[in-house]
């Protein structure tokens, strides 16, 4: 990884080496000095947070909170500062593990998000997750737009052992959801998961379509508990906040599935989303395998974030 490319500003390469480091190493470096915290250290920590896509506003707020704690406990050094920072992040995320599906009532889960975040894959894994816990799972293939989305879901359905309710490509997605809910009642399914087409949150007509789907679920799901998950790609930057806001306006978002956390992206934007919109993360995606979707754990997240 030390290859130098001609034509690039050396200073920049120097900087990049720094950014290639994992945020954890960065925090290590800042804190390892065992020095008393000083403004420079705080600034570097702020930069580390920004590099993790936490966003400028939220990063500032976190650092201010940290600074407050340092002021209150002047004996804090490197390791102590790290623990404080971790606990601030944990508290922001509500340090409680949440399992979405209650044991006794049936649940309808609507899954939404922009294009390419991993909705279909997450649904496959969710289905397997509930199947594994002994639930009867039904999947509604309501992404009737993207080419071969239904086929992709079918493969996942087979892997998970979940039945799929589908119409043809190009048909009305709300009708698919309607049928799936009917089928779920008839077959006593306990978990219904509805896939939807990826849509950019600034496309009015597509968002209206989603509103209709949510309306159908609210009307038809009877006594079932309802969940609406927004799938976010951990690689996404500040736009994820806008996505969350817009999807929340249209649907009753109850949680986030944060995908692709197995890369080098840290998904820090969920901190900003929690702070601004109070939407919790419910699951994280850690790979392509069937079992690579795990319930979110704030403590583990903070740990992974800062080491």
């Amino acid at each position: 990884m030390q290859e130098r490319q001609p034509g690039l500003i050396p200073r920049f390469m120097e900087g990049l080496k720094k950014s290639r480091e994992d945020i954890r190493k960065k925090v290590d470096r800042v804190l390892s000095l065992a020095n008393k915290p000083d403004p420079e250290m705080l600034e570097e920590l702020e930069e580390a947070l920004i590099t993790a896509d936490v966003g400028v506003g939220t990063s500032l707020e976190i650092i201010e909170a940290l600074n407050e704690r340092i002021r209150q406990d002047r004996s804090l050094t490197g390791e102590g500062v790290r623990e404080e920072l971790k606990s601030i992040i944990r508290e922001m995320l509500d340090d409680e593990r949440t399992e979405a599906v209650p044991e006794d009532t049936a649940t309808v889960i609507l899954v939404v998000g922009v294009n390419g975040v991993g909705k279909t894959t997450s649904i496959g894994k969710l289905a397997a997750h509930y199947k594994h816990r002994g639930k009867k799972v039904l999947i509604a293939a309501a992404d009737t737009f993207r080419a071969a989305a239904i086929e992709q879901l079918e493969v996942w359905g087979q892997r998970a052992g979940a039945e799929i309710i589908k119409h043809s490509e190009g048909s009305d997605p709300a009708a698919v959801v309607f049928d799936a809910l009917g089928a779920a009642r008839a077959r006593n399914a306990e978990v219904v998961i509805c896939d939807t087409a990826g849509r950019l949150h600034n496309k009015k007509n597509l968002m209206e379509e989603l509103k209709k789907i949510q309306r159908i679920i609210n009307r038809e799901a009877g006594d079932c508990s309802r969940e609406t998950y927004l799938v976010l790609d951990a690689t996404t930057g500040q736009n994820a906040l806008v996505q969350a806001r817009m999807f929340k306006e249209i649907t009753d978002i109850t949680g986030i599935i944060l995908t692709k956390l197995d890369g080098t992206a840290k998904g820090g934007i969920v901190l900003a989303i929690k702070r601004e919109l109070d939407i919790p993360v419910k699951y994280v995606g850690l790979g392509e395998g069937m079992e690579d979707l795990q319930p979110f754990d704030g403590k583990a997240f903070a740990q992974a974030f800062l080491g």
Partner: protein, 446 residues
């Protein structure tokens, strides 16, 4: 904290700067703090931002601005120039291999939009460059990825080569090349599976494919919404596989696309294409200067003109100009014009390109495409005489038109008012066009 686009942020910042006669170092610093914030919120990598701010500050404080009569504008100019420099100064036209088949490989993370990008490029090369492309499906991992490319290819009218999901991607790509040669296809676009840049096995597989196929170009497909991690991804793909350019996708979203700046800065490779919508035609060449203008709120007039040229019927346009000049612009023409504008694409995209239109301030775009359908219905419910001379439309005629088009009288009134305003505006434009410069300027020395 409401999210505002970079454009609005910078506009605000420079409004402050514009208000002053001269700029002190403090002013510049304050302005730069806002630029820094705006760029970070636009997901430009923070090291790139640091570098950028330093350069602009150096240039701005170094006297260049102080002596200028309009310091604020001077700063904007510097910021824009530096942005353009960061993104590469000229748009890069597609280059084709002079000998035989041009081979293009698309690589990137999962969900970046490779398959869609592949189909769009193929369509673009066929339509604009007169090529006959072949799409090759090498994503053997994601369920139904091959099927997806087949469907996309069918939509685009481009043949797709695939060998199922059992073979090695490098071998499939090779076979795709042979197929292209056999059938006289001169551009081969290879779609590969999405992969993480830290996945050694899959990165090695790409490397093998590159060695076997020897592509003319490897394009990294990058989602415009990517955050700070974009630099790591681009750096890894570039150092391990070697890339020649970038395909920036999902630019029709409302992300500012700071990733484009970051990726260019770390790899030194230009952004070549941008994806701007769900349809197979929604692809454009990347124009760094236009992008910089867009980011800075100067609008994207050039793209607008280009779009207009593509979608407007030249004959009709000439006829329209004639009518405008002779002041015979009728409701029929108005309707025709609306239809042509609609051909250019979704209204909100077009609005975004017009300078001075501030998307953020207008709230979420509430321009409803349905509104246009109403307008059409209203005009269609008029008699030819009414369309030619709207001044004869009396109260009772309005009532009839509303009933005929299924609208309300208020809507009819609003339309007539809009028409009158448009006509006035058009007349002004026509007057402007009558200036001394007519047609192409001649060469003075010949």
């Amino acid at each position: 904290m409401a999210f505002e686009g970079l454009t609005e942020k910078l506009q605000q910042t420079f409004k402050k700067l514009k208000g002053k006669g001269k700029l002190s170092e403090k002013d510049v610093k304050e302005g730069m703090r806002e630029v820094r914030l705006a760029l970070l919120e636009a997901d430009v990598n923070f090291l790139v931002v640091k570098d950028f701010i330093k350069k602009v500050t150096d240039r701005a404080v170094g006297g260049e601005v102080m002596e200028s009569l309009t310091p604020g504008q001077q700063v904007i100019k510097i910021v824009k120039e530096q942005l353009v420099e960061l993104m590469g100064s000229a748009p890069s036209r597609p280059v084709f291999s002079s000998s035989g088949v041009t081979k293009i490989m698309l690589v990137g993370l999962q969900g970046a939009g490779k398959t869609t990008a592949a189909a769009k490029m193929a369509k673009y090369f066929e339509k604009r460059s007169g090529k006959s492309p072949l799409l090759v499906a090498c994503d053997i991992y994601r369920p139904a990825a091959i099927k997806q490319l087949h469907v996309m290819g069918e939509k685009a009218g481009i043949p797709v080569f695939s060998m199922g999901d059992k073979g090695k991607p490098a071998d499939i790509a090779k076979a795709g090349l042979a197929e292209a040669k056999k059938n006289g296809r001169d551009v081969v676009i290879i779609d590969t599976a999405g992969r993480l840049h830290i996945d050694d096995t899959l990165m090695a597989e790409l490397k093998e494919m590159k060695e076997k196929v020897v592509p003319d170009q490897v394009l990294l497909v990058v989602d415009a919404m990517t955050g700070q991690d974009a630099v790591n991804v681009a750096q890894a793909f570039n150092s391990r596989i070697g890339i020649d350019g970038i395909f920036l996708t999902k630019l029709d979203g409302d992300s500012r696309g700071g990733a484009a700046i970051s990726v260019k800065a770390v790899t030194g490779k230009p952004v070549k294409f941008v994806g701007t919508g769900e349809k197979v035609e929604d692809i454009e060449l990347f124009h760094p200067d236009r992008m910089a203008s867009r980011i800075l709120g100067m609008g994207d007039v050039l793209t607008l003109i280009e779009k207009a040229e593509q979608s407007f019927d030249q004959k009709k346009a000439a006829e329209l100009t004639r009518k405008l000049k002779s002041q015979q612009f009728t409701l029929d023409d108005f309707l025709e014009q609306l239809r042509q504008v609609r051909n250019m694409g979704p209204i909100d995209q077009i609005m975004g390109m017009i300078p001075g239109i501030n998307k953020g301030k207008m709230g979420p775009m509430e321009i409803d495409e349905k509104e246009l359908a109403w307008v059409e219905a209203i005009i269609n419910s008029m008699t030819p005489a009414e369309r030619n001379n709207p001044s004869i439309i009396s109260g009772s005629r309005r009532k009839r038109i509303a009933a005929g088009s299924g609208t309300r009288i208020q809507q009819v009134n609003r339309l007539l008012k809009q028409f009158e305003q448009t006509r006035k505006l058009m007349r002004q434009f026509a007057e402007m066009g009558k200036g001394p410069k007519k047609g192409k300027p001649g060469f003075p020395f010949i």
